[in-house]
Amino acid sequence: MIDNFIALFADALEKEKSAVAINDEFRNYEEWDSLAVLSLIAMIKQNYNITIPRKDFDELNTVSDLFEYIQAHR
């Protein structure tokens, strides 16, 4: 399941899947910008049907944080 999430995550950020590890702090990616945030929001809404409030999102740092948040709120 996390494997599928990493694939979707990498796609949203236009990164190679192999360049994404679960403990990566995604805000440190070179691709990270305001559009990347929108891409992630869109990907999560389309695939998991949830919207993450900004205040919650700001506390998520790693790919795995994001995945766990989604699992907890589905």
Binding site: S34, L35, V37, L38, I41, A42, K45, Q46, T51, I52, P53, R54, F57
Partner: protein, 322 residues
């Protein structure tokens, strides 16, 4: 008894701010990426002495080239950048256009949902017999609220003015409306300053500055707009396949493409064109209407769904017949 849109015109300020200019000012920012994803190549920016009222007047002047100004019996002006705190900008517009003094005029303060609300007010006034020809104008200059170093908002917003005549018609061409409001979102798109909550004081030559929490606005849009469209289609007793064309507020290409895919709409029936204007707030829907008519994308008798959404939060939708 009913109401219809008789004519739409718009006006864009002369000064154009291109992506290349922005890229020069912010070397880390990518013009190509912005154009590809957000769908904006340039935006028009009002001059230092050019206001929303000026833009609205220029748009209305185009309409008055063919419409008899003495037939206008009400003015509705939608703006969030009024000429003054008081008096009402619509009163100034009445005088500058030389409209009759025996008419009503008022401003209303809404952003991206404003045009749809304006149509609703105009329709009600015409249908109730209060008026026969309403001049609905929109004018917006968010550029004056955006900080010099705020690349995100500078790249998205453009200035413009529009004018629409809503007139009496035997058949009701403006359909049922659906509205929505959630002031809990107020903080996510806001200009503070020179207002009561700030004691009308700005410190150290500060200017009122626009703040937008983009991700929250995006969340609001993707949660609110799909149900809004379903509701307005049902309220008009139509099916989604009955709609010939969709004109959603042209916020940016990214949001529109997301909404289209989320709602499985036919992309060819959806307006996406803010390439040369940017997001012009309450002006985007009338600009899109005018362009679509001119380019033959919509024609007489077509059913066109309009939906505005944003600052407030405020949203509204209707289905018009051309």
């Amino acid at each position: 008894m009913g109401a219809k849109i008789k004519q739409v015109e718009y006006y864009l300020p002369e000064r154009i701010l291109t992506n290349e200019e922005l890229e020069k000012a912010y070397p880390e920012w990518s013009a190509a990426k912005l154009e590809k994803k957000v769908g904006i190549k340039q935006r028009h920016i009002a001059g230092p002495n050019e206001t929303s009222l000026d833009l609205a007047i220029n748009a209305a002047t185009k309409i008055l080239e063919t419409e008899d100004k003495n037939l206008i019996d009400f003015v509705l002006f939608c703006t969030q950048s009024p000429e003054y705190l008081l008096p009402t900008s619509a009163c100034l517009l009445q005088a500058k256009l030389g409209l009759r003094t025996e008419i009503g005029a008022l401003d209303f303060n809404l952003g991206c949902s404003g045009y749809v609300y304006g149509l609703a007010i105009a329709k009600s006034m015409v249908n109730s017999g209060l008026c026969k020809n309403v001049l609905l104008v929109t004018g917006e200059t968010y550029s004056k609220f955006i900080a010099e170093d705020d690349i995100s908002n500078r790249s998205i917003f453009g200035d413009a003015g529009t004018a629409t005549i809503v007139t009496y018609s035997e058949e009701d061409m403006l359909g049922e409306f659906v509205f929505g409001t959630d002031g809990k979102g107020a903080e996510n798109l806001i200009v503070k300053g020179l207002t009561a909550r700030n004691s009308y004081i700005l410190q150290n030559n500060e200017r009122p500055t626009l703040y937008m929490n983009g991700p929250e606005i995006f969340n609001f849009t993707i949660d609110t707009i799909p149900p809004l469209l379903q509701k307005v289609i049902a309220q008009n007793k139509l099916q989604v396949t009955d709609i010939d064309y969709f004109i959603l507020h042209q916020a940016n290409k990214y949001i529109l493409e997301f909404l289209i895919s989320e709602m499985c709409l036919d992309k060819n029936k959806c307006h996406i064109d803010m390439l040369n204007y940017g997001n012009t707030v309450s002006n985007t829907i009338p600009i899109a209407l005018k362009d679509s008519l001119k380019q033959g994308r919509i024609k007489e008798r077509d059913k066109v769904l309009l939906a505005g959404f944003g600052v407030g939060y405020s949203w509204g939708s209707t289905i018009i017949t051309l």
